[in-house]
């Protein structure tokens, strides 16, 4: 009775991207500004403070390095899951996506251990500005990781039925979920040195 919304599965002839990809990139642009706001807060508080504790004395750099590697590996398995879909291999896709989700949980686990150590030593956001901005930044990042895990798990189980009906549309969706996941890893790549190493 009426025209369907186009360019959901095929890229737009002029702009060359599907609706979903343009949408996810715009959403990531707003996320860049969100973390940009918090980074500028960190820079302002740090330059304004007369004394700023040295990162690696207060925070556990070993755990954080492991966490960085975990997120990088999960980025790789994420892109591999997309690549195996491009090679029309659903079972490989499921394997890689499962690893990505598991690595996400491992990351959260390590984060929980780190937070546990802090709370035991009575280091709360209220103890000092450094801990406050540490908890806020890593906390918000962790919430984004949780969001990513939920989306990936959806695509691992119920979402993959779409593969039977519209494989190409499903591949695009996985690519968008991948873009989000890589962005979450990218934010951590900046978070890790600014909080832990400097």
């Amino acid at each position: 009775m009426s025209a369907e919304i186009k360019w959901i599965d095929k890229p737009h002839p002029v702009s060359g991207v599907t609706n979903g990809k343009l949408g996810i990139w715009l959403f990531l642009a707003s996320e860049v500004m969100l973390f940009g706001g918090l980074f500028s807060a960190l820079v302002l508080l740090r330059t304004g403070a007369d004394s700023w504790p040295v990162g690696h004395e207060l925070l556990n750099v070993k755990l954080a390095t492991i966490n960085t590697l975990i997120l990088i590996i999960s980025s790789v398995t994420m892109v591999m899951s997309w690549a195996s879909l491009a090679m029309k291999n659903l079972s490989k896709y499921k394997m890689y996506m499962a690893i990505t989700v598991i690595l996400g949980f491992v990351f959260l686990g390590i984060k929980a251990v780190e937070y546990g150590h802090k709370f035991e030593h009575h280091h709360f956001p209220s103890t000092s500005i450094f801990y406050a901005i540490y908890f806020t930044l890593t906390g918000l990042h962790a919430i984004h990781v949780i969001g990513g895990i939920i989306v990936n798990t959806y695509f691992l189980f119920p979402g993959s039925k779409l593969w039977q009906t519209k494989p190409e549309m499903f591949t695009n969706r996985i690519e968008c979920a991948g873009l989000y996941w890589h962005f979450v890893d990218l934010v951590w790549i900046f978070l890790f040195p600014t909080l832990y190493l400097l």
Binding site: P11, S15, G16, V17, T18, K21, L22, W25, L26, A29, V32, M33, G36, G37, F39, S40, V43, L44, T47, G48, G55, H56, V61, T65, T68, L69, I72, I73, S75, V76, M78, V79, M80, A83, A86, M87, K88, E168, T171, N172, E175, G178, L179, H182, F183, D185, L186, I189, F190, F192, P193, T194, Y196, L197, L198
Partner: protein, 101 residues
């Protein structure tokens, strides 16, 4: 770029592995650099450069920004510009107290 032919994707897989190795090495390097306790600004600059390289690798290869369409690059360029404006915001906020002779 989404559904490219399987052979091309095989080639991609090799690049993903090399990129992963590069990222892992850079992580270790950035941690090692922090143990050298260089003077403040140098440490910050170096850490920022390494982080930018890692971020660039993830963005260009994993997020397929290499060879991405013009509109996505335009949006990202606009966002990066305003991100820089946002990070320069702290410089504007320091209260400047005049010296009384």
């Amino acid at each position: 770029m989404s559904a490219t032919s399987p052979e091309a994707v095989k080639k991609h897989v090799r690049t993903y592995i090399t990129i992963f190795i590069a990222l892992a090495i850079l992580t270790v390097v950035t941690v090692w650099v922090s143990t050298l306790d260089l003077p403040g600004p140098a440490a910050i600059a170096l850490a920022f450069i390494i982080a930018s390289i890692k971020a660039g690798l993830v963005a260009l290869f994993f997020m397929h920004l290499l060879g991405e369409r013009k509109i996505i690059i335009a949006i990202l360029a606009l966002t990066v510009f305003f991100f820089v404006v946002l990070t320069l915001l702290p410089q504007t906020s320091h209260v400047v107290v005049p010296i009384i002779p």
